[in-house]
Amino acid sequence: MKHVITALVQNQPGVLAHVAGMFAARGFNIDSLVVGRTEDPELSRMTIVVIGDDHMLEQVRKQLEKIITTVRVRDFKEIDYVERDLMLVRVSATPEKRAEVVELAGLFRGRIVDVAKQSLTVELSGPEAKLEAFIDMVQPYGIRELSRTGIIAVQRGEQRAKERN
């Protein structure tokens, strides 16, 4: 089962290595991990997607909290949240096929951010499933290059999040 966890961490060298090392040492599988700045320059937020059962999720959460430089951990197990994944994909598109690809991108509300003679680059964001569907659709044209950020997530509205610490 897929779980989304966010961790607010001190913005210090070595923190990412610590978190990544803990996952490796304890045999937890990271599906994706995103680190970014927050509104507070001293803190960063990691959004981590892990695959595992509830028991594993609980251990991941507690082990993350145990890291001294981790300020707060939240899992989205019982709360409603919005998730987004951002993708840049360069698709083969000869002049004859270009219109088809542009139309597909449009159907998915993607944006064309670069056009070349033999290819197009599409920017697309959304939940993971939407990105997967788009990849399926453009596969036949040929994917030259693809890069994704991995999931970031925030809760919906003002619900009480399941926070510890």
Binding site: Q10, G14, Q59, K66, I67, I68, R72, N165
Partner: protein, 571 residues
């Protein structure tokens, strides 16, 4: 919850212009450091120059691993933070085993390592290693300090983290120029750890739920671990046990936390635990784990562990709860605080049937060995216990001798058994004993060791002689790596692959190092030899040639349930 931001220094001004090294020593003194174990080196020269002037006692060890184990033995025997220091590169990597040992057993320690000059970091400079990278998985926390102004705060944070919550080793890696440079401004000495809030007090609702379950149970067992020693909860544990008439089993890390001469004592559980402890766990209807972590050496096959029990788990570390065994009633917090809250809620009970059953098991399956023409290792441990009135500080290496020490010394008080439980570090015994002796001047400190374990750190005998620390080393000398040999005998049809080794005369080695050496081979001379050792005012090695193929029993084989014990020759 404790505050994570506070000023740790008594003085906060007047440090500008001082060198980083001088500030380093001021801060160690403020933290109450009396003794520092270590080895100097290039990256530490400014610190050692400053050390020349301070009242902190410096103990030069033969090897950095020895320094770490000495700091560890000092910490475990006193409850204070132990401090060790090593230079960059190989000095730091040599500390790693000692850090991992302390980390697994929750020992409060601060390790200082020198690092190459900050401008050279990352350049593969001479004696450079990525110390924070290497030690991250074996420390509670670590940090790299590149500026003189940051040294004070780092030291206060390190000591605070090391001794609070679930204690552990903290490493500070300090670039050479941070110690040689003068502070350009007043340093900020405020501890700022927004993410560090150890749970100290137990939630009263959980304590009540636990007490209710205990009162409702007919056959409860207290399963007590090292957390009880760390939180100094032995006295309150004794009260809880006696009020509820609850038998107590003490893990390797908790030996002495409950007096083994008490009728409620079940002694050690697990792989080489007593039959009564293991049967009691398997038959109990309520298992109260306090400061223990359900290690695989305690649980045996986890699926069949304590099958009828409601499980209460008191622990300061939330990650320990439901990690190996699913907990019914978790209580997160300090063991002493929780037991104090729990005591008045515990109903006084007779538990006649249950205690009767316990007494029957004790009588039917006591710890046991046969005597013979040769000295039996168990006999040595028993004699040491008797002749030291069960009150010496004992350290051990790892293996058969460690298990016999656990089984036969006769533990009465906490902080007497100093042993590497989690990591199982051979070579721990001698340096740990030296560290414990520094922390307990005038007390008898004995390393009961194996010949295999002792060989790994025997060089530290020089340290004992150098500082005239009267540690005693009793070697159960069997010329084997005995525990591995036992497994080869039992599970690999006696194919003794790489477990036999030459048997040097360890008493002569002791003499060559400037210590006293005694060798004994006759069971009848054992008491005299031990008394001679105890009487000598200085370090002694007593090598006792013991029955080489003696095995440790009872034994729960790997992957078996606790009830599937092999009792050895008894049955």
């Amino acid at each position: 919850m404790s505050k994570s931001t506070k000023t740790a220094s008594k003085r906060t001004k007047g440090y500008a212009g001082m060198t980083g090294a001088d500030l380093f020593h001021k801060m160690l003194l403020e933290e109450g450091v009396e003794v520092l174990f270590g080895v100097p080196g290039g990256a530490l020269l400014p610190i050692f120059d400053s050390l020349y002037k301070t009242p902190i006692k410096f103990v030069l060890t033969r090897h950095e691993q020895g320094a770490a184990h000495m700091a560890d033995g000092y910490a475990r025997s006193t409850g204070k933070v132990g401090v060790c220091i090593a230079t960059s590169g190989p000095g730091a990597t040599n500390l790693v085993t000692g850090l991992a040992t302390a980390y697994m057993d929750s020992v409060p320690m601060v390790a200082i390592t020198g690092q190459v000059t900050s401008a050279l970091i990352g350049n593969d400079a001479f004696q450079e290693a990525d110390t924070t990278g290497i030690t991250r998985p074996v420390t509670k926390h670590n940090m790299l300090i590149k500026r003189a102004e940051d040294i004070g705060r780092a030291i206060h944070e390190a000591f605070y983290i090391a001794r609070t919550g679930r204690p552990g080793p903290v490493l500070i890696d300090i670039a050479k120029d941070a110690t040689s440079n003068e502070l350009s401004t007043e340093p900020d000495l405020t501890i700022d750890l927004p993410g560090y809030k150890p749970m100290l007090t137990g939630h009263i609702r959980q304590v009540k739920a636990a007490a209710k379950a205990i009162n409702a149970s007919k056959q409860p067992v207290l399963y007590v671990g090292g957390g009880v020693v760390i939180s100094e909860a032995s006295e309150i544990l004794d009260k809880v046990a006696h009020r509820g008439n609850i038998p107590v089993t003490t893990t390797l890390m908790a030996l002495g936390a409950f007096d083994e001469s008490d009728p409620l004592a079940l002694q050690m559980p697990g792989m080489h635990g007593t039959a009564v402890a293991n049967y009691a766990i398997q038959e109990c209807d309520c298992l109260i784990a306090v400061g223990a972590r359900f290690d695989d050496r305690v649980t045996g096959k986890v699926e069949t562990f304590a099958p009828h029990a409601k499980i209460i788990h008191v622990d300061i570390d939330p990650t320990s709860i439901s990690k190996n065994v699913k907990t019914d009633i978790p209580v997160v917090g300090d063991a002493k605080d929780i037991l104090e809250k729990m005591l008045p809620m515990i109903e006084s009970k007779q538990r006649k049937d249950w205690l009767g059953q316990i007494a029957k098991w004790k009588k039917a399956y006591p710890l046991h060995y046969d005597t013979g023409a040769k000295i039996k290792p168990q006999q040595v441990v028993e004699a040491v216990g008797r002749l030291t009135d069960h009150d010496a500080i004992i350290t051990t290496g790892v293996g058969q001798h460690q298990m016999w020490t656990a089984q036969f010394y006769g533990w009465r008080k906490p902080r007497r058994m100093i042993t590497s439980g989690g990591l199982g570090t051979m070579g721990f015994g001698l340096p740990a004993a030296i560290g414990a002796q520094f922390g307990n001047p005038g007390k008898t400190v004995i390393d009961i060791d194996g010949d295999g374990s002792l060989a790994m750190t025997v060089g530290e005998l020089v340290t004992a002689v150098h500082y005239n620390q009267p540690v005693k080393v009793v070697v159960l000398d069997n010329c084997y790596l005995g525990m591995v040999r036992q497994w080869q005998e039992m599970f690999y049809e006696r194919r003794y692959s790489a477990t036999e080794h030459p048997c040097p005369d360890l008493s002569l080695i002791a003499e060559a190092f400037g210590a006293k050496g005694i060798r004994t081979t006759e069971p009848g001379e054992l008491d005299d030899a031990i008394n001679e050792m105890l009487k000598h005012d200085g370090p002694v090695v007593l090598a006792a040639s013991v029955e080489p193929e003696e095995n440790v029993f009872p034994m729960v084989a790997a992957g078996k349930g606790l009830h599937e014990m092999d009792m050895g020759r008894l049955v």
